[in-house]
């Protein structure tokens, strides 16, 4: 297991930035339902709506880490329930590769997760984002891949 934590000097009020790619048909609907049911979850998760989890380009994930995200969550329909038939199967394969690639590069796999949440699973959405948020909070800020990290240390580090 790689260790990417630089926990020293972390501000106790520090809030992670977590980005969630959610497919329009299942997870985004589930997130809306969580709202409708007035469920509560941490504010530090921001959702980006995509038509299908299969739309999530690995480039988006890398960019998120590069620009300062502390965690990325990809959510889609349950396997077999994809609105677009097979999209989430591609997500699943891509995700596994991506997670291993990130781990190889020193990013804790807990920072990049995928979950299947249907449009009816508002509770699962709440529980998932709460757990991911807590996990990442415990991990502390991400430093790997980040532009700011290199900038702070000057060009010689690039």
């Amino acid at each position: 297991m790689s260790v990417d934590v630089e926990k020293k000097n972390v501000d106790p009020n520090w809030e992670p930035k977590i980005l969630s790619f959610s497919c329009n048909w299942c997870t985004y609907a589930g997130a809306d339902l969580a709202g409708l049911n007035r469920m509560k979850y941490p504010e530090n998760v921001r959702v980006i709506r995509v038509p299908c989890s299969g739309r999530v380009n690995p480039q988006f994930v890398l960019r998120a880490f590069q620009k300062g995200s502390d965690g990325v969550l990809v959510c889609g329909c349950h396997p077999g329930d994809c609105h677009y038939v097979t999209g989430n199967y591609f997500t699943r394969r891509r995700f596994l590769l991506m997670q291993r690639f990130l781990e190889y590069n020193g990013i804790d796999p807990r920072r990049f997760q995928a979950r299947w949440i249907s449009g009816a699973e508002a509770g699962k959405f709440r529980d998932t984002v709460t757990k991911v948020s807590n996990d990442i909070k415990a991990l502390g800020p991400n430093k790997k891949f980040q532009e700011s990290w290199y900038k702070e240390r000057g060009e010689s580090n690039e």
């Binding site: 809306d32 007035r38 299908c52 299969g54 988006f60 620009k67 999209g87």
Partner: protein, 660 residues
């Protein structure tokens, strides 16, 4: 430089109670490209929409961000509003400040920060939006129904009654499918032919329905609203436009052939109508068995006897092409070939071990025995009948894993008929479970028990002949004892399997099949009659085993879907689809493999490179087929494909804006 207008909605107090709207407005003013910010009590209301329209004119806005409820709620509303302005409806982004912010958070400060982030993401994304245009595709208001069983007939009648022309294609010489072979229908014991044949006649005589029997779909191209379908009209050697259906030819024909309709228990001629009530009520020649056509003899008696002169031995297959706006598939089922897999039941060597459909013909008044239940071997009345359920169903080792759904009920019906028609008969039913979910079904089953049917819970392990009796050995799993019943006749209630040739139909229309080859509906619960190919619908057993009421209901449902398409003069295509940059495309074809809708095809195109003309293979997207999932975009190695409305640039802007 774009000019973005931001409109923040209070949604009464839904958003305003948790989010500090004034602060969001203040922050939004300093976001890039934002030239105007306004908040509103109810943005979706008439005055709210008018305020946006006014601001568009007054501040020369060219794109809009609305911070309000979920885009799943009001995106269509605001797009519609923008359609009446100078701005393209797709120059709109919505920040979800209600369902994903104010309703799920309580901390005012943090919720406000999140709201600002969400607005910033939307502002960043909208800067990369492009005007998109829905194109309209004309709809050919003519439907094709494939399969002339009860499902196809019902769908065709419903569509035709709504006023649209329908072509009903059936590969056999008559409409009717399996239902017309049945004797009685559970649980009401209506005579099946009495309720099915009038429907066949209705379809045959309906001014809006063209019945094409002895026809098969050969080729399908195009997309919803405009399917170009080639149908093969198989040679029938009888000119149906002249034939009166008098039947003299049938009487004179010397070739006798086993009747498919009578399940091999009677004979027909080589020139034949499958059954007396056939629609169309005109004969066809079975070329393989006709002495003249197969070259075994000179014959030609039918031709000399026909008073109308409609026999034409030179007849050939014809290909007929037409355009259809929608297709209903109702190809139905057949029974599993139990003889090849159940050697323990004799594998077909005992003539008195029959399947359910054969029993239906035996018990039918117009069947080979005129409704008397007689053993096929010696024509004697069986006094002891064993019915074995789940032959091939619920048996993943030898047959199929699924339950065929109708068998429990028709087994009860068969038991009832045996006990009703044969004096002092005994009827044993071997079962795994009795499944009678349906209106008045359980009552019917109970009645059969009261009739005296003996239900034994267990599978039959072996059937063999001994002293003229069929010995059925099995286990009564309730008592744990082996049982052995000496029967005069055994009826195997065999599994339904998709009709032969369904693979071809599925491939032609790019419909997926499940592991058992049943056609796959778009969603098992919410889109049970649609397929993933827009404009193609499913009716009846081709989608999965079901009984007649469910089949008819599904047929009417698919007809309603077809009529929904035909109610519009033109179909609007979703403009948020994939687009290929042919300059970047390397022609690898990965996208075509990824696309679940077969919307991407590879095409050879000519390019000028270094002053030379070259031909390169590039991918193209069919806008009628693409559904906009974006799977191809993420899979494209050179990054040549992008998804309009969710472009890489748009999403990356969102990511950047969030991480600021």
């Amino acid at each position: 430089m774009s000019r973005t207008g931001v409109f923040i909605c209070h949604c009464g107090t839904n958003i305003a109670a948790v989010v500090d709207i004034a602060k969001v407005v203040e922050k939004a003013k300093s976001m890039p490209n934002v030239v105007y910010v306004e908040d509103n009590k109810y943005t979706c209301s008439e005055p709210g929409q008018q305020a946006i329209k006014d601001a568009i004119v007054k501040h020369k806005l060219d794109r809009i961000v609305i911070g309000s409820c979920s885009p799943r709620m009001h995106e269509p509303t605001f797009r519609k509003m923008l359609a009446s302005t100078e701005i393209n409806p797709y120059m709109l982004e919505i920040a979800n400040l209600r369902e994903q912010c104010s309703w799920v958070h309580t901390d005012r400060e943090k919720a406000t920060d999140k709201a600002i982030d969400l607005v910033r993401m939307a502002v960043a994304k909208v800067a990369k939006n492009h005007a998109l245009f829905t194109s309209s595709i004309p709809v050919t208001k003519r439907a094709l129904v494939v399969g002339g069983g009860i499902a196809g007939i019902q769908a065709a009648l419903d569509i035709a009654d709504a006023g649209y022309p329908v072509t009903l294609v059936e590969r056999e010489p008559s409409l009717g499918g399996k239902m017309v072979m049945l004797d009685k229908t559970f649980p009401t014991m209506d005579c099946s032919a009495c309720i099915c044949t009038p429907k066949m006649v209705d379809a045959g005589q309906h001014p809006n329905i063209t019945v094409m029997t002895s026809c098969e779909v050969e080729k399908v191209s195009g997309y919803i609203g405009n399917f170009e379908v080639t149908i093969r009209q198989k040679a029938t050697y009888v000119d149906h436009s002249v034939c009166t259906g008098c039947g003299i030819c049938e009487l004179k024909c010397p070739s006798k052939v086993t009747s498919e309709f009578e399940q091999g228990m009677a004979q027909r001629r080589a020139i034949y109508k499958p059954f007396p009530q056939a629609v169309p009520a005109k004969p066809v020649i079975d070329a393989a068995n006709c002495r003249k056509l197969n070259g075994k003899a000179k014959c030609g008696i039918c031709q000399t006897q026909c008073p109308q002169g409609c026999i034409n031995f030179e007849d050939e297959d014809k290909l007929i092409t037409n355009t259809y706006g929608a297709i209903v598939i109702a190809t139905g089922y057949e029974l599993i070939d139990w003889k090849s897999i159940y050697g323990e039941y004799g594998g077909g060597q005992y003539p008195d071990v029959i399947n359910g459909l054969q029993f239906e013909r035996l018990v039918n008044a117009s069947g080979p025995t005129e409704g008397h239940i007689l053993r096929p071997s010696d024509g004697k009345e069986p006094k002891s009948v064993v019915i074995v359920k789940c032959v091939g169903s619920r048996d993943p080792n030898k047959g199929k894993g699924y339950c065929s759904r109708a068998c429990c009920m028709y087994a009860a019906k068969h038991a009832h008929q045996v006990l009703e028609k044969i004096d002092n008969a005994q009827c044993y039913v071997f079962y795994i479970d009795v499944r009678t979910a349906g209106k008045a079904y359980e009552e019917f089953y109970t009645r059969t028990l009261e009739d005296g049917a003996i239900y034994v819970r267990g599978r039959v392990s072996k059937i063999y002949e001994e002293d003229g009796k069929l010995i059925c050995k099995g286990e009564d799993t309730l008592s744990g004892q082996t049982v052995s019943v000496a029967a005069d006749m055994v009826v195997l209630e065999t599994a339904m399997v998709p009709a032969a040739g369904v693979e071809k139909v599925a491939t032609l229309m790019t419909i997926s099949r499940d592991n058992d080859n049943w056609l796959q509906e778009a969603h098992p619960k919410l889109r049970p009659v649609e397929t993933h190919t827009a404009g193609v619908f499913l009716a009846g057993v081709c989608q999965g085993p079901k009984d007649i009421p469910d089949t008819v209901a599904q047929a009417s449902a698919s007809a309603a879907k077809v009529c929904g398409i035909f109610s519009k003069a033109e179909l609007q295509t979703n403009p948020m689809i994939s687009k290929v940059d042919i300059e970047k495309c390397s022609g690898c074809g990965d996208c075509a493999g990824i696309c679940p809708y077969k919307a991407i095809s590879m095409q050879d195109m000519e390019f000028i490179e270094h002053g030379k003309k070259i031909t390169r293979r590039v991918s193209t997207v069919n806008s009628g087929l693409c559904q906009g999932c974006g799977a191809c975009v993420a899979g494209c190695r050179p990054g040549a494909i992008d998804l309009l409305g969710f472009t890489n640039a748009q999403i990356l802007e969102e990511v950047d804006a969030l991480c600021l």
